[in-house]
């Protein structure tokens, strides 16, 4: 297949289609993933082409979806589960944390859990409550899970394919506000490893690290900062469990400053772990504390207020200023 420009949602769709074609054990399941093609159309057309047996509309029960996926995996299938929105993963949290994450270890390695849990996440689409959450830290803290989030159509395509082929459970966070962003996908390319961070833009004065929905924001901030004569390096972390600290460290050793940007609340968020670890790794190299830009420690607000909740260009640039002021 030649390289094509497509939306992130379409790239995910193509990746699922490829996975279903390549491996008869791959299943797609979730609420409304069948005839409707999912509320974001990520599974559009898959049931039509692969049948109801492989692309299944599940009952409205998230614990049931993940719990039966565990059973299907024990039977040798490779379920790709869709949680309709970030805020609806919590009924499945027990199955994910106490079962999916632990069965490989519990069995002393005898059982494998090749299950992908796809979660459209994050805000910025003007949605009602529970449709804009960023719960990634709640999964990254849990041993036994792998947690990733693509930021571009190309990564969406490749990373989902890698997640499906992985024999470990992967929590796959899809930045829903980027579903309609377009980019090139080249199915003939060789992708980087699933858990490798990516230098999106090189710079020398400061490192700006984001993932998922905030990578684009970080890029924009770096461009704006460049106009002020500041050279900002941008990293796309891509993976939150594990985090590719080597890449972050290498960057910070060059720039001596780090700002982490995510939509989730800052308190106990991914930025905390990155700050703590990079401060240890780069204690003498850092010229400023690792700063964090993210959600407030408040419930995600109603849509008309989300602009005041989500990190935006101004807040990122203010943090860049703050860091450079040290």
């Amino acid at each position: 297949m030649p390289a094509q420009t497509m939306t992130l949602a379409k790239a995910l769709n193509l990746s699922l289609r490829t996975a279903l074609e390549d491996d008869p054990d791959v299943l797609v399941m979730g609420e409304d993933v069948g005839r409707l093609g999912g509320v974001f159309r990520v599974t559009d057309g898959l049931q039509k082409d692969f049948g109801e047996d492989r692309v299944m509309d599940s009952p409205l029960a998230e614990s049931g979806i993940v719990g039966t996926a565990v059973g299907l995996a024990l039977g040798g299938h490779r379920p790709v589960v869709e949680i309709q929105f970030d805020g609806f993963v919590f009924p499945a949290y027990d199955q994910i944390v106490t079962q999916l994450a632990k069965l490989h270890a519990r069995s002393g390695g005898a059982l494998r859990m090749p299950v992908v849990v796809r979660i459209p996440y994050g805000g910025g689409i003007g949605a009602v409550e529970h449709h804009s959450e960023s719960p990634e830290a709640l999964f990254a803290h849990v041993p036994g899970l792998k947690v990733v989030s693509p930021a571009t159509p190309s990564d969406a395509y490749w990373m989902l394919g890698q997640a499906v082929r992985s024999d470990d459970p992967v929590i796959f966070f899809e930045p829903k506000r980027r579903y309609w962003d377009t980019g090139e996908v080249d199915p003939g390319a060789t992708p980087p490893p699933l858990h490798r961070a990516r230098v999106v833009r090189a710079g020398t004065d400061l490192t700006l690290a984001g993932y998922g929905p905030t990578v684009k924001l970080c890029r924009e901030a770096a461009e704006a900062a460049a106009e002020d004569g500041r050279s900002v390096e941008v990293l796309d972390l891509r993976s939150l469990s594990p985090v590719d600290f080597d890449t972050v460290q290498a960057s910070v050793e060059r720039t001596h400053r780090l700002v982490v940007v995510h939509e989730a609340p800052v308190f106990f968020g991914a930025g905390a772990e990155i700050a703590a670890r990079i401060t240890t790794r780069c204690f003498y190299a850092l010229e400023a504390p690792v700063l964090r830009v993210g959600g407030h420690h408040t419930p995600y607000p109603p849509a008309r207020l989300e602009g005041h909740y989500l990190p935006d260009l101004d807040r990122v640039l203010a943090a860049v200023d703050d860091s450079l002021a040290y």
Binding site: P59, P91, H130, H296, H297, P301, A303
Partner: protein
């Protein structure tokens, strides 16, 4: 609970007999119906509790108001004034019929589509619309109306209703908690757990399931292989199916259920068999998954048309009544439209409001920083 069976004096003559004793061969009863789609009664009026011009007109008027609100809000969403709207079109009888059976001190726990119930409970429709405009995640004070906030996590509030009912019982009240939820919600573990808690606590809670045949794109056959009212019987309390497009029947059955509960009979389940005539929400496109013929079939069972036909044919309402109702509906639509158009956005620092009742050092600190930061944009001193 049955006591442990001791000796089987007269056993079955064959194993299959013993097993067959467990088979569930009950015939499927017809949904309770009082008004046929053509507007005629299935029973003599004197057998229908509450039957009379007052009730019937009120049911009609409130169904009409609910439909008007729904139409207006859908239009407002299309015009970009609301972020989203979940239409109740087709479910007016299930909502208005049941709500009219409630007492003011009963407490309703809705899902997110119960705009008709909200109306009957005296919640200002502007407040309901405010939620879907994205101005608030709540919108009204449930303590005034006995109408709890909408709950968007499917099924979660059914437990709240059950807990509330336990609270009522502890206080010796004979009020009832009412949980409205959908056919889809019936699959959520929380709903099953609510049945268990309600049953073992004999909690005064009415489970009112609007089976509108769809959960977004999934037909009810993806949620259950059994009629939903039977679910309740499997947890040890009664379940009844009512024609959910017949406001009179819904009203009568709900009243029966509430009497049962108030009399100390414990929880009761009513399945209002109805139909979601519109999209799941304004974001949804039902033509992708729903056969048009099905919609047509249900259109013939429209809850408003049926009651209107009855009111007209019996003379219980004059043309003037319908005219006045139309006027009131138009007024409501105008009021809602005007209110939405002039609705102010919340203050930016509203993000920090009411996170905790008693404060939280971090939230307070973040608010201070945020206010400082906001000021920096207007502050002329800013570098």
């Amino acid at each position: 609970m049955t006591a442990p069976t001791a000796d089987h004096a007269s056993g079955a003559t064959a194993l299959t007999d013993a097993l067959n004793a467990f088979a569930d061969h009950r015939p499927e009863p017809q949904a309770v119906q009082l008004l046929r789609p053509d507007g005629t009664l299935t029973l003599p009026p004197e057998h229908i509790p509450g039957y009379g011009s007052e009730l019937l007109r009120a049911l009609y008027r409130d169904m009409r108001m609910a439909r008007e609100l729904d139409t207006e809000a859908t239009a407002l969403q299309r015009q970009g004034e609301l972020g989203l709207w979940p239409p109740l079109l087709g479910q007016e009888a299930a909502q208005i019929g049941s709500a009219h059976a409630l007492r003011p001190d009963d407490h309703v726990f809705p899902s997110y589509r119960e705009h008709g119930v909200a109306w009957c409970r005296g919640v200002d429709p502007v407040d309901v619309v405010r939620l879907f405009r994205g101005v608030t995640n709540g919108g009204w004070d449930p303590r005034g109306s006995g109408f709890h906030l909408y709950t968007l996590v499917v099924g979660a509030h059914v437990l709240h209703a059950t807990g509330y009912a336990m609270s009522l019982a502890k206080r010796g009240s004979d009020a009832v908690a009412v949980a409205y939820f959908g056919d889809g919600a019936s699959s959520e573990g929380d709903v099953a757990e609510a049945f268990t808690f309600a049953a073992v606590h004999d909690a005064p809670v009415l489970f009112l399931c609007q089976n509108n045949q769809w959960a977004i794109s999934e037909p009810v056959t993806r949620q259950t292989s059994s009629p939903l009212y039977r679910r309740a019987q499997g947890f040890g309390f009664p379940g009844v199916r009512v024609d959910g497009n017949d406001a009179l029947a819904v009203h009568a059955v709900t009243r029966h259920a509430l009497d049962h509960i108030r009399g100390g009979g414990g929880p009761f389940f009513v399945e209002a068999f109805t139909y979601r005539m519109g999209a799941h929400t304004t974001s949804d496109d039902p033509t992708r998954y729903r056969p048009p013929a099905e919609l047509e079939q249900w259109r013939a069972r429209d809850p408003l048309a049926r009651l209107r036909a009855h009111l007209s044919a019996t003379g219980l309402a004059e043309p003037a009544f319908f005219e006045e109702t139309e006027e009131r509906a138009t007024e409501l639509a105008h009021r809602v439209r005007h209110a939405v158009r002039t609705m102010p956005d919340p203050a930016p620092a509203g993000v920090f409001d009411h996170v905790h009742a008693e404060g939280h050092a971090l939230v307070d600190e973040e608010r201070r920083r945020f206010e400082e930061y906001e000021r920096s944009f207007t502050d002329p001193e800013r570098p």
